[in-house]
Amino acid sequence: MQPANLLLLTVVLAIVAYGFGYARSRTLATPLGGIRHLKSLPFYYGARASLWCAIPALVVLALWAAFQGKVIQTLVLGSLPAELAPGSAGEASLLLSKISNVASGALPAGFVEAPIAEAADRLEALREQSRMLMTALVVSVAVLAGFLGWLKIRPKLNARVQVESILKWLFFSCAALAILTTVGIIFSVAFETFRFFGKVPFTEFFFGSQWSPQTALRADQVAAEGAFGMIPLFTGTLLISAIAMTVAVPVGLMSAIYLSEYAGKRVRGIVKPLLEMLAGIPTVVYGFFAALTVAPFISDLAASIGIEASSQSALAAGAVMGIMIIPFVSSLSDDVINAVPQSLRDGSLALGATQSETMKKVIFPAALPGIMGGILLAVSRAIGETMIVVMAAGLAANLTANPLETVTTVTVQIVTLLTGDQEFDSAKTLAAFALGAMLFIATLLLNVIALKIVRKYREQYD
C-alpha cells in the first residue's frame, strides 16, 4: 500500500479504536451505576484508545517511509557484481538512476547490461516487499497497540490526565521542530562544507578572486582546473544589495514618515495596503519584470547617452530588488516611528518647531536605532534574495563596482550549481553548500544584530 493510503487507513483505525474505547468505558460503567462512576468522561477513554492506536503506527510509518528509499538503494547497489560496483558516490548515483529508469520502463531492459536489468528487477521486487512489509507492520502495530490500550481501560483509570499529557508532549514536539529544522540546516550545510574544504583549500575560497567552478567531468578531459574564490561573488552580492538599499531606504523611509506624520486616516488606509501589495508579489514576478523590462530599458537608455551597459546589468536587478524591499523598510520604520511617545512630539511642537523639524531633530534621532535594525533586516533579505538575481543578473563572476556591468551573486551560483543533474561528490556541488553556509552565517549574524538593536531600543520607551 502507498504511504498516503496507509496514512488514511491508520486514521480510520484510530477512529475505530475511539469507538471501541468509548463503548468499553460505557460498558464498564453500567454495572457501577452510570458514567459518573468513571474517573473520566467516556470521550477521554475513546481518545486514549485512539492515541494508543495511532501514535506508534504513525511513528513506524514515518520512519519507514523516510528510510526505505535509502535502504533499498544500498541493497540494490550491494547486489551488483564486483566489476559493476560503483567506485564513487557519483558513479553510484548514475548507476541508480539507470537502474530505476529500467525499472520504471523508461529505458528498455534490452539496452543495458544483464546485471543492470537484474538489478532493476531486484529494485522492483524490493519495493514491492517494502510496501507489503510496511503495510503489515503499520497495521499490526496499530491494531496491537490499540488493543492493548483498549484492554487497559478500567473505571479507575484517569484517562483525561493521560490524554492531556500525551497532547502536551505532542504540542511540545511540534514546537521543538523549530530546533530540529535549525539543526537540519546546520548539519546539511556544515557537513558538505567540510568536505568542500577537504578538496579546495580554505585560503583559496576566502581570498581567491577567481570564480569558475567548471571542473573537468572526466579525468582525461582538457578543461580549466576550476577556481573557487568567493570574493567576486560577495562583491557582486554586495553591489546589488547596495543598489537595492539606495532605492529602498529613502523611498521606504520617506513614505513611512509621510504616512505616519502627515497623511490623513483615509490616505493612510488606501496607500498602506497598496504599498504592502509590493511585498506580496512573488519574487519570480519581480525577476520577470527585471529581466524583460527594466534591464532592456536600462541598456537602451545607457546606449542612447553613449555609455555601454550590459543587458544583465547589476543596476536592473538591484533597482527591482529595491522596489521589492520598499514595503519592508516602510512598515518597519512606520512601527518604530509610531512607537516614539507622543509627548516628545508635543514637546517639540510646543516649542515652536515645525513638523519637519520635529521629525528631523526629535523623532528621527529617537527612532534611529530601530530604523537601523529594520534596515539591517532588509539588507539580510536583499543578500538572500534569489529569483530576481537568478533571472536578471548574470553568471559571469566579474570583480567590478560598475553597476552597468554584469555581476553574479552567491544565490545565483548556488542555484546554477545545484539545478539539473549533479554528482554529489564533485567540488562543484560541494561549493554550492559552502556558499550556502556563508549565506546562512551572514544572514544569521545580520538578523541577530538587528533583533538585538530593535529590542534594546524598544525597552527605552516601554
Binding site: 528509499g69 534569489t386 553548500f433
Partner: protein, 424 residues
C-alpha cells in the same frame, strides 16, 4: 528688551525659509509614495500588457476532406492503421483550397502555417468518430506559433515575425475572411507544458501547485498551531523555551534558498526521496512557512483575554480543556488569517523548489503526490527564460493567473479578519 525684540525678529525672518523646508520635506514624502506606487502600477501594466494576448489563441477553420485515399486509411477503427495514416495531407489540401493563388510549389510554405499538433487533433477526432471517414468536416485547428505571433503582434516592436511576405499576405487574407481567427485560449488552461508555445498550458503547473500546497497546509497548519499553543500556554519559563523562540525568530528570516539546500541534503540525499515530487516540495515549504504560522498563531492566542481563561478555570476545566474548548476556538480566525498569508507566501515561492528538482520539463498533468511535477511560479521561471517571445507572452499570462490566486487568498484573509475577528 531690545535683545528679545531682535530675537523675535530673527525668528520671523527665518520663518519663510523654515516653511519652505517644511513644504519640501512634505513633498519628499509624497514623491517617495508616488515612486513606490508608480513602480506597482508599472509592474502590473507591464505584465498585463505583455500577457493579455497569452489568453488568446489563433485558430484556422478548415473544411477537411477526410478522404481515405489521401490519408492511406480505409478503416478508422483499426488502431494500427490510425497510427500509420497521414493526417497532415488533408489539412494541407484543405488550407490550399482556401488560398486560390497557391500553387504546388507553395506547399511547404502553406504546411508551415498549420500547427504541428493539428494532425494529432484530427487523428483523435477520427478515432472518436470512425464514421467521419470519407466525409467532409468543418473543424477548427491551432495555427502554427509563427502565425499566432504574426496575428497578435504584427505591429509590435520587439517581436520577430518569422513568416515570409507571401505567408503574411495569405494570413492577412484568411484573417479578413474569418478563416484565421483569434479566440479564448482554452488550451492554455487545459494542458501541460509543451515545446510548442501554442500548445503550452498551465494546468500541469496549477495541479502541481495545488498538490504541493495541500501537503504544506496539511502539515504546517496543525504543527504551527500546536507549537503556538505549547509556547503560549504550556511552556515553562526556562532556557529551553527561550532557545525554541530564538530558533523560530531566526528561521523566519533565513533566506528561502537555504531551505532548498536543507531539502536537497536531508530529504533527497539522506532519505533517498524522489526528486521533483510535490511531497518533497510540500515538506520544504512546510519548514519555510512554519515560523510565519507559529508567530501569527501566537499573536492570535495572546489576543484572547485572560478573563475567558479564568472563567473556564473557575468552572473546573483543566488547563488543556481551557485551551482546547475556549482559547482555541476564539483564536481560530486569527490563526486562519495568518495561515492563509503564509500559504500565499509559499504559493509564490520558487527558489527552494529549484534546488529539489521541480524545474523539470513535464508535459503530463501530475495525478499524485509522488508524480514528477512543477509549480506555477517555476513554470513562469521556465517560460521567462525561453528565447521565444511566444513563451514570454505565456509567462506573463501565467503570472496573471498566479497573482489572481494570491490576491484572492489575501482578500479571503482580510475578509476573514473583518468578519470573524472579535475585538475585546
Amino acid at each position: 528688551m531690545t535683545d528679545q525684540h531682535s530675537q523675535a525678529e530673527l525668528v520671523r525672518q527665518s520663518l519663510k525659509a523654515r516653511y519652505r523646508k517644511e513644504r519640501r520635506f512634505r513633498a519628499y514624502g509624497i514623491i517617495a509614495i508616488a515612486i513606490a506606487l508608480a513602480a506597482l502600477v508599472t509592474l502590473f501594466a507591464d505584465i498585463i500588457g505583455k500577457g493579455y494576448t497569452g489568453f488568446q489563441k489563433t485558430t484556422v477553420t478548415l473544411n477537411v476532406d477526410l478522404d481515405g485515399e489521401i490519408m492511406y486509411l480505409d478503416d478508422a477503427t483499426d488502431k494500427r492503421q490510425l497510427k500509420m495514416a497521414d493526417f497532415v495531407e488533408p489539412l494541407v489540401l484543405a488550407l490550399m483550397k482556401e488560398i486560390p493563388d497557391a500553387t504546388e510549389a507553395d506547399r511547404d510554405a502553406i504546411k508551415d502555417l498549420i500547427n504541428p499538433y493539428a494532425s494529432v487533433t484530427l487523428r483523435e477526432a477520427l478515432e472518436a468518430n470512425p464514421g467521419w471517414l470519407g466525409t467532409t468536416r468543418t473543424m477548427t485547428f491551432l495555427t502554427h506559433t509563427d502565425v499566432d505571433v504574426y496575428v497578435k503582434h504584427a505591429g509590435d516592436e520587439g517581436y520577430s515575425i518569422k513568416l515570409n511576405d507571401q505567408q503574411k499576405a495569405w494570413v492577412d487574407e484568411l484573417e479578413s475572411r474569418g478563416i484565421v481567427d483569434t479566440s479564448f485560449n482554452d488550451v492554455f488552461f487545459s494542458g501541460g507544458d509543451s515545446r510548442d508555445p501554442s500548445k503550452a498550458g498551465i494546468l500541469g503547473a496549477v495541479v502541481g501547485s495545488l498538490l504541493t500546497m495541500f501537503v504544506t497546509l496539511a502539515l504546517s497548519f496543525p504543527i504551527g498551531v500546536a507549537a503556538a499553543i505549547y509556547l503560549e500556554e504550556f511552556a515553562p519559563q526556562n532556557k529551553f523555551t527561550d532557545f525554541i523562540e530564538v530558533n523560530i525568530n531566526n528561521l523566519a528570516a533565513v533566506p528561502s534558498i537555504i531551505f532548498g539546500l536543507l531539502g536537497l541534503a536531508v530529504f533527497i540525499n539522506l532519505f533517498g526521496m524522489p526528486r521533483s515530487v510535490p511531497v518533497v516540495g510540500g515538506l520544504v515549504l512546510t519548514l519555510m512557512t512554519l515560523p510565519t504560522i507559529i508567530i501569527s498563531s501566537r499573536a492570535a492566542i495572546k489576543s484572547v483575554p485572560p478573563s475567558i481563561r479564568e472563567a473556564a478555570e473557575g468552572m473546573g476545566a483543566s488547563k488543556m480543556q481551557v485551551v482546547l474548548h475556549h482559547v482555541l476556538p476564539l483564536a481560530m480566525p486569527g490563526m486562519l488569517t495568518g495561515s492563509i498569508i503564509g500559504m500565499a507566501q509559499a504559493l509564490g515561492e520558487t527558489a527552494p523548489l529549484l534546488l529539489i528538482g521541480m524545474v523539470a520539463f513535464i508535459v503530463d498533468v501530475p495525478n499524485g503526490f509522488f508524480d514528477s511535477a512543477t509549480v506555477l511560479p517555476v513554470q513562469v521561471f521556465l517560460w521567462a527564460g525561453s528565447p521565444e517571445l511566444a513563451f514570454i507572452e505565456r509567462a506573463s499570462a501565467a503570472i496573471m493567473v498566479l497573482l489572481a490566486f494570491l490576491i484572492s487568498m489575501n482578500a479571503l484573509a482580510i475578509w476573514l479578519r473583518k468578519r470573524l475577528e472579535r475585538r475585546w
